[in-house]
């Protein structure tokens, strides 16, 4: 095996339980995003664009669709003779089989894989975030600081800071203190869950962490605090681009609509930082004579006869005559029949929205604002003609015709 300077380990085993029906059958990193992508396209494309050609993808929850999607890594140029993408699932060992107990344990169980490449540095990523980042600059920073661990850091709005793992950072970039989701934040510098470790040091701490029966084997909770208390060199790498955790329905909806917001700095059309994906073979989309499309993106294979406002259509969606789609995300293969209305909603793959059905509600139409939320329809369902799905509902089963 040819030695690699830096390889990436991508933690993609999470269920993303707050996405409810959307992750019933697929892992969170496989959730569709942005009309043609899946969340995992972002860290994978970032790796390739940053010159990292060896990526271990650690899967655990419902890996079938994710494994299928990644395949041999060819869409991301990660089908390499030496390196490339490797799916790393939990496996059986002499002492019995073991699931990944935590993020650090997942890496611990794959020490052999990393050792084969004998890297100087290991980049730890998660498959939960939408962002474009040049990891090679972070790696340079890590080397400059002679750090043992570098954590990517983003300044978040103060009123949201208490939702994040925060860091108090000294002037030289070194980390003075950690705070995990504090009630009264003293810093607004949040960890993005992107780490560069010097492999020799990380390897040592993985062994220590595993030997500690009291540890929950988590990077943020156990391993990094242990390095900190041992006085290892921990540094924060500042990042100021677009970054979004798409862990909830609202944030997934927001992150999709962010593509349509010209004020938000997320350019997916940058020729020098392409986001690669595994796309289906579909012809261009067709807008019919009666179509009306405003501030929306449409992927290949769609047919639009109705109207579209501030929405994202994935591949092979059809929107019938007189149907309206507003502020919504419609995933691949879904059919919206004549006169139906889909608003403030996320509709998963291969679902049928019957004629004149209404899915979701405008925030203005809901008397109590707390009752409002994005409506979600699960994949492969059928919403009967004329039925009504209220705001904030998560539809998990077929709905009969005319149900109100």
């Amino acid at each position: 095996m040819v030695k690699k300077e830096c390889i990436a380990m991508l933690l993609a085993g999470g269920q993303g339980s707050r996405l409810g029906i959307l992750t019933k059958n697929i892992a969170k990193p496989a959730v569709p995003y942005g009309g043609k992508y899946r969340i995992i396209d972002f860290p994978l494309s970032n790796c390739v664009n940053s010159g990292i050609d060896t990526v271990g993808v650690l899967t655990q929850y419902r890996p079938l669709e994710l494994n299928d999607y990644i395949g041999n890594g060819q869409p991301w140029d990660l089908d390499r003779m030496n390196g490339g993408v490797h799916i790393l699932s939990p496996y059986q060992q002499m002492e019995g089989s073991q699931w990944y107990k935590g993020t650090a344990n997942a890496i611990y169980q794959n020490i052999q894989f990393i050792d084969r490449y004998a890297p100087e540095y290991v980049l730890i990523l998660s498959g939960d975030h939408i962002y474009k980042m040049d990891y090679s600059r972070m790696l340079d920073y890590h080397k400059d600081k002679k750090a043992d661990c570098t954590i990517a850091m983003l300044e978040v709005p103060w009123d949201e800071a208490s939702r994040f793992g925060l860091m108090l950072v000294r002037e030289d970039g070194s980390i003075a203190e950690f705070e995990e989701k504090p009630k009264e934040p003293r810093s607004n510098k949040a960890s993005m869950g992107v780490y560069v470790f010097t492999w020799k040091v990380l390897r040592e701490y993985l062994l220590l962490d595993e030997a500690d029966a009291a540890s929950s084997n988590d990077f943020g909770k156990d391993l990094i605090p242990r390095m900190h208390s041992d006085g290892r060199g921990l540094f924060a790498f500042p990042f100021d681009g677009y970054w979004k955790d798409v862990g909830t329905i609202e944030s997934l909806w927001d992150a999709n609509l962010d593509i349509l917001n010209p004020k938000i700095d997320l350019d997916l059309s940058d020729e020098n930082w392409k986001i690669y994906s595994n796309s289906p073979a579909s012809p261009p989309h067709y807008l019919a004579v009666g179509a009306r499309v405003q501030n929306s993106i449409i992927a290949e294979g769609c047919t639009v006869e109705g109207s579209l406002d501030y929405s994202v259509l994935f591949a092979n969606v059809s929107v019938g005559k007189g149907a309206e789609v507003k502020y919504s995300i419609v995933m691949p293969g879904t059919v919206i029949e004549e006169g139906a209305c889909v608003q403030y909603a996320i509709v998963a793959e291969n679902t049928r929205i019957g004629a004149r059905a209404v899915v979701g509600e405008c925030p203005e139409d809901v008397s109590n604002r707390d009752d409002w939320g994005v409506a979600v329809v699960g994949s492969g369902l059928s919403i009967g003609a004329g039925s009504v799905v209220k705001a904030k509902t998560m539809v998990e089963n077929d709905i009969a015709e005319g149900t109100k």
Binding site: G34, G35, K36, Q74, P75, I259, L260, L268, S269, K274, I275, Y276, S277, S279, A281, S282, P283, P284, H285, Y286, L287, A288, V289, G290, A291, R292, V293, Q294, N295, S296, I297, I298, A299, E300, T303, L308, V312, L313
Partner: protein, 372 residues
Amino acid sequence: MKANSVLGIIYSNAYDTALPELTGLRTMGSVPFAGRYRLIDFPLSNMVNSGISKVGVITKSNYRSLMDHLGAGKPWDLSRKLDGMFILPPFSGAGASGVYQCRIEALYGSLGFIKRCTDEYVVMCDCNVVCNMDLGRLFDAHRASGADITIAYQHGTAPALDDIMTFSFDDGGRINGASVFNGGTEDTDFSLNIFLMRKSLLERLVTEAAGLKMLDFETDVIIRNLGALKIHGFKADGYTRVIDSLQSYYSFSMELLDSGVRAGLFRPEGPVYTKPRDSMPAFYAWGSDAKNCLVASGCVIEGEVENSILFRGAHVSAGASVKNSILLQDTFIGANAKVSCVITDKRAVIRPGRNLSGAENYPFFVGKEIVI
């Protein structure tokens, strides 16, 4: 030899001269069509969807864009250890003259490749014929009739191309008469230049014809052998169009705005594969007005678009109007420009405020990278 296996041969340069505007800098096979494809995607996908796993692509000139498009054949699943795609550029060996003038010379130049293939049959296609055809049905018809050669044909007005054969048949479907002088004739059965035969027969016919310095595959190989060989026709009944000029390229493109016509070309059981470009989905801005149009990914539409086809990466600025036009990849239409019945080649730029207009029967053509 693998029983019943079929080798595919595609002529990427056939009838280049019929479409000089678009083939000036490329082959017929790399002419863009239907918003995101190149013409060679159609025969290649037909072959792959019919189970053919080895395809030779014969090239003659200007094939740089074709090579770029095809790469190692991955998008068509033809990048393989066993079989796969083979580019056959001009090859001047003993007895062959290098750059060839005709189909016989092209095949003779590639005879070394053809002979080494272990397939039992060979099917040949041209790139100016756009269809979504199950070649398995052609093969079944060939086997059922016991013909030596089966040629796919279509009924209608023969394309205005040199050497397009028109046929007459006996009651058993065998071709008993053929002519090459009927281009443009209405209500006739004309050849789609899709030929299926045993590979050994092709090798013999090509060697003979080349030895006699014959030049014309249609007259010297097919028509001359109508008596000696059992040559049958196979009627293509699905979507089939033969491009013979810029006008027909334009009208066949515009026809795709009809959902029925589109359904014939893009059948769910016969997906058409092409090289991916990884551009984001098309974006429609506030104030845009698009209707009756076919739009590929990577397009940005701020202005008005009607009855048009936009290839990947085309940009229509605010206030601009695009009607009855075809904008090839990365065309840029500046603010308040008006184009109607125009075909713009790759990376053409129409500057703000310009006004360009052709006619339905004579579209105005803007060449590659031209700035107006």
